[in-house]
């Protein structure tokens, strides 16, 4: 989880990822950042995120992203 925060900070340092819960809905992260993020996460955690999982609910908060990552790690 800490590693995720680091990645997010690195991508776009402006927001407090511990607090934000509507990163997508409030247009804080755009699709470019999401693409970069996915690519980074896939490398970092050695997972493949299918296109199906790219829905706002999975990227609105750091926690949601973490859930997604653990889900995909288990599936591996």
């Amino acid at each position: 989880m800490e590693r995720l925060y680091e990645i997010l900070e690195e991508m776009q340092p402006e927001y407090d990822y511990h607090k934000e819960t509507a990163l997508i809905d409030d247009h804080l992260l755009n699709s470019l950042t999401v693409l970069a993020l996915i690519s980074e996460l896939e490398d970092e955690f050695d997972i493949t995120i299918p296109a199906v999982e790219i829905v706002p609910e999975n990227f609105n908060s750091a926690q949601a992203m973490w859930d997604l990552i653990t889900r995909e790690m288990r599936r591996r």
Binding site: E10, M11, H27, N30, S31, L32, T33, L35, A36, I38, S39, E40, E42, D43, I49, P50, A51, V52, I54, V55
Partner: protein
Amino acid sequence: MISYCSIEYLLVFLPVVFLGYQILPRSVRRYFLLAASYGFFWYLSGPLLLWHVAVCLCVWLIGLRLRNLLEERDAAVKAAERSERKAIKAQCAGRMRRWVILAGVICFGILLSLKYTPFFVDNLNGLFRHLGIHVQMKVPSFAVPIGISFYTLQAMSYIFDVQQEKLEADRNFFRLTMWLSFFPLLMEGPIARYGTLAQKIWNVDRIQGENFQKGLWRILYGVMKKMIVADRVNSAVELLYTDFAKYDGGMVFLAAVLFTCQEYMEFSGTIDIVIGTGECFGFVLPENFNQPFFSKTISEFWSRWHISLGAWLRNYLFYPLSMSQPLKNLTKKCRARFGNHYGPLVTSSIALFAVWLFNGLWHGAGWSYIFFGMYHFALIVTGSFLAPPVIAFCEKHNIDRKNFLYRLFQMLRTALLVTIGEMFFRALSLKYGLLMFARMIRQASLQSFADGTWLKLGMDLQDYVIVALTVLFVFVISLLKERGCNVRGSLYAKPVIVRALITGLMVTLILLFGAYGAGYVPVDPIYANF
């Protein structure tokens, strides 16, 4: 053309449906609603209804086939050794893909052949002429069923969702058909997904007083937008777009502004009527607009304007494309080379190009629509490309990007860009669009406002004033919504007599200031032809 904002829909069809719905027993109610939807379809498109039935059948059967495949797969996976599981899954995915492709070929095939054949044949003829080949085909013309572009996308979203295991295929043909033909959604969307809506409609719960009152307000709000603004500016828009060559640049700009205004009021007004109708029954239809003119960038604009189309394109075209293996690899390479911003920009530009080509073509078979798509594609890519330098520039010169004035500047800029795009969208053809744009720039002048030409377009000063006041009213409501205020909720909390006064006032304002009757030609539903 008939629209939702008509006597037959609002004063005949709807009351009959509401009444029938309320007094029939629940078991009959859902078939009544289905019959009403198909009756509405028949009234608009006659026997072309069969095309719709064909799509429903195709989607239903292929959905069931996919469901079977999934069930077989799950059984096989359970029985198999751990090592074999991956192979079984892959095999199933391959089979499913074939069925999905079949569904796509049928659904999009019908759409393409009915709607786009004339366009392609015409352009092929042009190409042959150009190449000196003496083959000229007759340009066919087909009658197109109402809302075909909308229900085709809806049908495909169902197939994709089943394939991706987001939902289970429906065994009940009527439930599926009900969702694909629900009468408010037929003409101009929004493109509603099966998962959020189908069961809700199928439940056919009794109409509740609160829902009905709020739905009615929403319908009246939509009628107001349509009749007071969209219909009132119609004559000026018609005139300016046909005879723009007689006017100077200022008038061409006025044409663009008036049309943007008209289109927003017409489209969002119709959607208000649609969602209001759903709300009366107690069905929550997806929103299609989220105060688009408060957008700070073009890409934000498209997440606030025609949301359901944007969502469809994002879910079923943009992400699958940009997450495909070749593009993923490209993203990786580019990120290493150009960094976290420009790296993905390369990949997403490729995916975005596909999205905007599709978006343009979806709006209609014509070069002006393709240009419209490409215009927005170019703006979005440019916007992303310029974002880092702009941020750097602002930081260097100490400009606060969260400052109100800066945001206002962003919103006005976005609105201006959108307005120019809409000019090409409405122009009679791409050639005329370009001519209009050239005229707007080259002959920029305020002369026509000074000498009163702007008052001779079929709109007098009072017309402009009432249009401006209504737009202002819509702006205030939008601002309240933007601030998170639940306008209708708080109005409903007021005493009965206040609520009655609000309803009465809205009806009165519509009948007093609406542009109807002798001397007015209401605008045709702009999106119903798509």
